[in-house]
Amino acid sequence: MSTTLEEPRAGTRIDYLNADYGWKSWLFTTDHKRIALLYLISITFYFFVGGTFAVLMRIQLIEPQGSLVQPETYNRLFTMHGIIMIFFFLIPSIPAVFGNFLVPMMIGARDLAFPRLNLLSWYIYMVGGIFTLYSVIHGGVDTGWTFYTPYSSTYANSQVIPVALGVFITGFSSILTGLNFIVTIHKMRAPGMTWFRMPLFLWSMYSTSIIMVLGTPVLAITLFLLALERLFQVGIFNPALGGDPLLFQDLFWFYSHPAVYIMILPAMGVISEIIPCFSRKQIFGYKAIAFSSVGIAVLSFLVWGHHMFVTGQSIYAGLVFSALSFLVAIPSAIKVFNWTATLYEGSISYDAPMLYALGFIGLFTMGGLTGLFLASLSTDVQLNGTYFIVAHFHYIMVGGAVMGYLGAMHYWWPKISGRLYPEAWARLAAAIIFVGFNLTFFPQFMLGYLGMPRRYAFYPAEFQFLNVMSSAGASILGVGYLIPLVYFVWSMRYGPVAGPNPWGATGLEWQTPSPPPTDNFEYTPIVTEDPYEYSKQEVGLV
């Protein structure tokens, strides 16, 4: 690659990127860092595919009568947007990229417990993705990303089976990644790395892995049943033969509500790393944050019924699910309060990762509080099926998970690539994304409150102003997402050399060169300190 811009030493040092060249050294690698990069490229591709569907939807909704497509096509747009963004971008995003890259480095290990299984996970993910892309090319799916029966089993005129198989297959990638993380965190920690010396990112990866391992198999069997039902009309979910369509919803949400926490818990872990680093302070309430991650993982399995308040589920079940859903607010709030307490009297610097972290706190709080509206039985009856729902989960999924993902990209990119990105552009992009995001989705809260239903290609004319605002915001958001793509690629060749620890951060991953050598550390590190010892830390390294 380029030798002119590097330090004299860096040009000769062997790291995981220049250890070997050629496509075989990438496609058959078992190095967790290279597999992380394979995932990074793949999920970025799916992010822009899913984003394209969103762009088409927002163009359609500029005019009340629709400016682009027929309703049948619109159904496919929002379905494919949801399926690709959730199963092929958000669920693998932070775990598969940053979890893969960082879990071994943060505990001082040479690799994950099962490196070949890790590579297999990526191939499984790609095979699932090919099934899904096949269905996109052949017209996509029009069932909504939830695949509700009997719509998906009896009435859909689209490619349900390939997509269900694609999601089914990709699920195993998620299961194996979770398994790998759990075993690695239990058995591969360096000497002195006790559970309570682990960075909080690892606690959140551990909690995420628990959900992946327990929840995903249930989704797998559910989609398997759905595919059989559609192929043979065997009656599992078909009321004509005695099947119960609501059973599908129960099974689906038993996975898919915890899946929300698969997406948000890793982002919370990222925020817990960034906030202390850019406040130069020990994190406030380490154990409270750690246990709140586990608490969210446990509670996540007990709240699925709040997606079914208006389906004919018994009112008593509704009451219990409502109360349990309110409980999830407690560990979430514990995290937010501890992050803000960490900021208090800190020496705060507003580098790009910190901007994303602060944005996350604000947007996640909005998303979380509006979630309480939806956990209440009476308000949910009013708001269910409106744009309020759409706005709520985009505040969590985009305002939360994607902001966390971008924060992680900016925080660990110097470690991954060995190069710095242009800070001014990065701050500008963070500001554009924040403004664009709010302009896109805040009007949707108002639209939902006023009663505009989701998933329609047309809408009454009085909603046009807010819809135009939302579409305008989406175009700003789109620009905000393209800028980092450009400067990250640019920085790989032209960025200044980062050095091992550009942020002066604690944590084992910063104590090894950037990019790290294939075995991560020259010697197995011995841990003697708690994480986030920013108060007594001298910046820079041994």
Binding site: D111, M188, L228, F232, V234, I236, D244, L251, T524
Partner: protein, 226 residues
């Protein structure tokens, strides 16, 4: 120390020593079995819901199944768990010939199980009780069911084929794993220091066995014939 050096090809690069590797492999298979429990758990949950909805039809349809062959298969599978446990023991005590013999015996019992299962499937095909594809039961057991009851019978048969079918797929995967173990054992890969693959495969095999222990009463015995 020379013994340690001969083991380096067995010790994967990410581990410090063979003990850590064995512990890691064992925890890995246990976590995997947890995912398997959740996978089968989804099926069992659906079965339980429908059984509570349609108990009479489920009981009647259960009588269509061949309980003698089911019982035979239960015995075959339990015996295979015994031979598998003996194989693990032989690996731990570095008895290579015994290890190979017990692995081969386990495979034979596994193949017998699948053969008996195939005979059952064939009989059910001849009786036209394949849900969705060809469901027109001729026998007198299901004759008295109403049209609605026949729909419920179809759901029962659907779960029968799904659960035993997914179980059979696990058996086939298990046989593949046993075959690779057998080939590796013949090459003398396993020692009293290094037997993790045998132990891990053993845990998997016992799990598949236990699933059958639940399937047999839930599918074959709920008819109350005996």
């Amino acid at each position: 120390m020379s013994e340690v050096h001969t083991k380096t090809s067995i010790l994967a690069h990410q581990f410090e020593n063979l003990d850590q590797q064995l512990e890691t492999d064992t925890l890995g298979i246990w976590v995997f079995l947890v995912t398997e429990i959740m996978f089968f758990g989804g099926l069992f949950a659906c079965y339980t819901v429908y059984r509570s909805f349609y108990l009479p039809a489920f009981e009647a349809t259960s009588r269509v199944l061949n309980v003698r062959l089911g019982a035979l298969n239960t015995m075959v599978l339990l015996s295979s768990s015994f031979t598998m446990a003996m194989a693990v023991r032989s690996a731990q005590t570095a008895k290579r010939n015994a290890l190979m013999a017990f692995l081969a015996l386990t495979m034979v019992l596994g193949v017998v199980f699948l053969g008996v299962k195939a005979i059952e499937y064939h009989a059910e095909y001849m009786e036209h009780i394949i849900p969705g594809v060809d469901f027109a039961p001729q026998g007198e057991i299901l004759q008295h069911l109403s049209p609605g009851g026949l729909g419920h019978a179809q759901i029962f048969m659907c779960f029968y084929f799904l659960m035993t079918g997914v179980h059979a797929i696990h058996m086939i995967i298990g046989l593949g794993l046993l075959l690779t173990l057998l080939l590796r054992a013949r090459r003398g890969t396993f020692t009293s220091q290094y037997f993790a693959p045998v132990e891990v495969t053993g845990l998997y095999w016992h799990f598949v066995d236990i699933v059958w222990i639940f399937l047999f009463p839930l599918l074959y015995l709920i008819g109350g014939r005996y």
